[in-house]
């Protein structure tokens, strides 16, 4: 009956606070045991509500939540064997680091000596030994985060739920703590469900990235899949790194179709998994920003690059290892090329230059 597996299944989960609008609207998802899953979406998309429902701090209006084969709806967090790490940590301000971490063991009735020993072992794991007797207010943000992680992990939960765990930290610390989270997850070998609104955080950490919008899952998959093969315009724009173009299908020719554009020739797009496209359909396509090559107008396109759109350089941002060139290729929409630093400075553009934005024919991706 008691399973140690931490696989999670959400089946038709809905949540409504006012009985009118669903904050979470029919979510189906399967998270494998020991996976690192990131929910990502803008604020108000229902990601935190899903987390709180898995944690048992909120009951779903409809649907089932199954952890390790057991329907946990209505069970207390302890019975679910989940633990939550709260946004801004919610450390007990009147208890020391050691007492904070030992709290869950204390309320489980473990003897003082045992629980302090267990807490000290955990404190060592998160490298806070010298701070064990301090109060949370006397710690830095990163240290508080580690206390929160240790406090959540001490009960050996099968699922650890993290609500925007890195949002209170500054940029540098965030990258550092990100690695620490991943390390802890691998060390503990349990399922982590992490809510964030930072794309970089999600794709850096997660085995499973779940992109949400308005209570629904837009796409769930491996980080690379979601980033490189977004399903639709929303995911492509939210995850970033893609230019989205739209247009009507001009003609379908075997393995590819042509998108009507203002450009002289139209854009040729390979037909991937998306099978049925007919002439006249309105279609969105995505082109990765780092796939875009800029060629000065009048020069030859590189071989294999048949699509090109004439554009004017609107702005240039130096980003270190690449240069972000913003173009007016598509009216009303951003179109950006990430040009490798060395390539860019071999023949730098200036704002106002007219260039051809081009990409290898095979690299355009039709969106749903």
């Amino acid at each position: 009956m008691k399973s140690d597996r931490g696989d999670i299944e959400l089946a038709g989960v809905c949540k409504s606070f006012d009985g009118v609008t669903n904050v979470v609207d029919g979510v189906n998802l399967r998270i494998a045991d020991g996976a690192y899953c990131c929910f990502i979406g803008p604020s108000g998309c229902g990601k935190t509500t899903i987390l709180r429902m898995i944690a048992g701090h909120e009951d779903p209006t409809a649907g089932e939540i199954v952890i390790g084969g057991q329907n946990v709806v209505g069970l207390a967090p302890v019975q679910r064997r989940t633990a939550m790490m709260f946004q801004s940590y919610a450390l007990f301000p009147h208890l020391t680091v050691r007492e904070n971490i030992a709290f869950a063991l204390r309320v489980r009735g473990m003897s003082k000596a045992d629980r302090l020993r267990a807490a000290d072992a955990m404190i060592e794991k998160v490298r806070l030994t010298q701070f064990a007797d301090r109060l949370p207010a006397q710690l830095s943000g990163g240290q508080q985060q580690r206390v929160a992680l240790a406090r959540a992990a001490i009960t050996e939960p099968r699922v650890l739920l993290l609500d925007e765990p890195l949002s209170a930290l500054d940029e540098q610390l965030r990258v550092q703590m990100r690695q620490e989270l991943r390390r802890m997850q691998q060390e503990l070998g349990i399922t982590f469900v992490h809510v964030t609104h930072t794309q970089l955080e999600a794709i850096a950490l997660a085995d499973l990235v779940v992109v949400m919008e308005q209570g629904r899952i837009k796409q769930a998959g491996a980080a690379r899949e979601v980033y490189a093969h977004p399903h639709d315009r929303y995911v492509a724009e939210f995850m970033g790194g893609q230019n989205v173009l739209s247009g009507r299908v001009e003609k379908v020719n075997g393995a590819s179709f042509t998108l009507a554009q203002a450009a002289p020739s139209g854009i040729e797009v390979p037909l991937q998994a998306r099978s049925t496209v007919s002439v006249g359909d309105k279609v969105d396509i995505a082109v990765r920003r780092d796939d875009v090559v800029l060629v000065r107008s009048g020069k030859e396109l590189p071989p294999g690059y048949t699509n090109s759109l004439p554009s004017r350089v609107l702005a240039i941002e130096y980003q270190g290892y690449f240069v972000k060139v913003m173009l007016d290729t598509v009216p009303d929409d951003a179109f950006v090329a990430y040009v490798p630093e060395k390539t860019f400075f071999a023949d730098p553009f200036t704002v106002g230059d007219v260039v051809m934005a081009t990409w290898a024919t095979g690299s355009a991706l039709p969106l749903a």
Binding site: A55, G56, H57, A76, P77, V78, T82, A83, M84, F86, Q87, S88, A90, L91, F92, P93, H94, F103, A104, R106, V107, R108, A137, R151, A152, T155
Partner: protein, 315 residues
């Protein structure tokens, strides 16, 4: 809050004192800062000196004067009044009685006040309703103290509601006499009057507990009782301490409720020196007053020692 203000005023005052190290070139700025400092503290000084410091000094001085027994005071220095007060067996008896009332009142106001505040903060989801209920707690204060005490008579009296109900249901044959004009009635009246002084500060400190902490405790598997014991009570300490100071100092400084509600059967420390004043024994009354003040100061500083209110409030 007041305590904090007072302290910062004192600090400001202390800072304004020209130190021996202040260089002569700074004299002008120092004197200007001095003036500003005095202006800042002046409202408090204007209230405290005539209404607090001066009366205390008068009482202190009177406690060392001799008396002719007919209300006349002979300026001088004698400890006779203190000797008399401290040697009297009555003093001890009265202190014991007062401490008994104080402890009973404290226990009941604390329990009721804590749970009312707990209910308002953690169980009333609707903030408007919480504020409404909170205001409801202050309803007894819309009438005067005397009316509030008199209104116990129809309830607790010999022919009061409780006795009539008990008689009617056959639980008792004779009306209960202990309900009114007894120690029980005194404690009831105190609790009725003073619970609000517990509710307000405890409510205040509880309301500042982050609800996420409660959720984190639930997440860790804490029961309601654990949450109360390990999170809510420790984090309401400052409110409990403040409420305790209010209740203890009011009960220990009261004679009126004891007199009215006990029907003259019980007395408190203050009622004794009220009697002294009545028979023109001013120095003994003053000595008793000074003694009571010292006892209260000791109790309050003990409370402040256990709970660092300033630190808790600023947290």
């Amino acid at each position: 809050m007041t305590r904090r203000c007072k302290r910062s005023d004192f600090e400001a005052f202390a800072d304004m004192q020209p130190g021996p190290s202040s260089a002569p070139s700074l004299a002008q700025t120092t004197s200007r800062a001095n003036l500003a400092g005095w202006l800042y503290v002046s409202p408090l000084v204007l209230v405290l000196v005539p209404f607090f410091v001066a009366p205390i000094l008068v009482v202190l001085a009177a406690s060392f004067f001799a008396t002719d027994g007919f209300g006349g005071l002979t300026p001088g220095f004698t400890l006779a009044s203190y000797v008399e007060v401290l040697h009297s067996a009555l003093t001890l008896k009265l202190y014991l009685a007062t401490i008994k009332f104080t402890l009973l009142t404290w226990v009941f106001t604390l329990i009721i006040g804590f749970f009312v505040a707990y209910f308002l903060v953690f169980h009333v989801r609707n903030q408007l309703l919480a504020i409404g209920l909170f205001l409801l707690c202050t309803v007894p204060f819309w009438t005067s103290n005397i009316i509030r005490m008199i209104s116990w008579i129809p309830l607790l009296g010999k022919e009061g509601l409780i006795n009539q109900a008990l008689l009617a249901t056959g639980v008792i044959r004779q009306p209960l006499e202990v309900l009114l004009f007894s120690d029980l009635a005194v404690v009831i009246a105190y609790v009725h009057q003073l619970t609000i002084f517990m509710i307000v500060p405890i409510f205040n400190s509880m309301a500042r507990i982050d609800k996420k902490l409660i959720e984190a405790a639930i997440d860790a598997g804490a029961s309601r009782f654990d949450i109360m014991r390990l999170i809510v009570v420790p984090m309401s300490k400052s409110g409990i301490a403040l409420g305790t100071i209010f209740v203890v100092s009011i009960v220990m400084g009261d004679f009126f409720v004891v007199k009215v509600m006990s029907g003259g059967g019980s007395a408190s420390v203050v009622s004794a020196f009220y009697e002294d004043v009545g028979v023109l024994q001013y120095p003994t009354a003053a000595a008793s007053a000074v003694l009571l003040t010292l006892v209260l100061v000791a109790i309050v500083s003990l409370i402040l020692r256990t709970v660092d209110i300033r630190q808790e409030i600023t947290r």
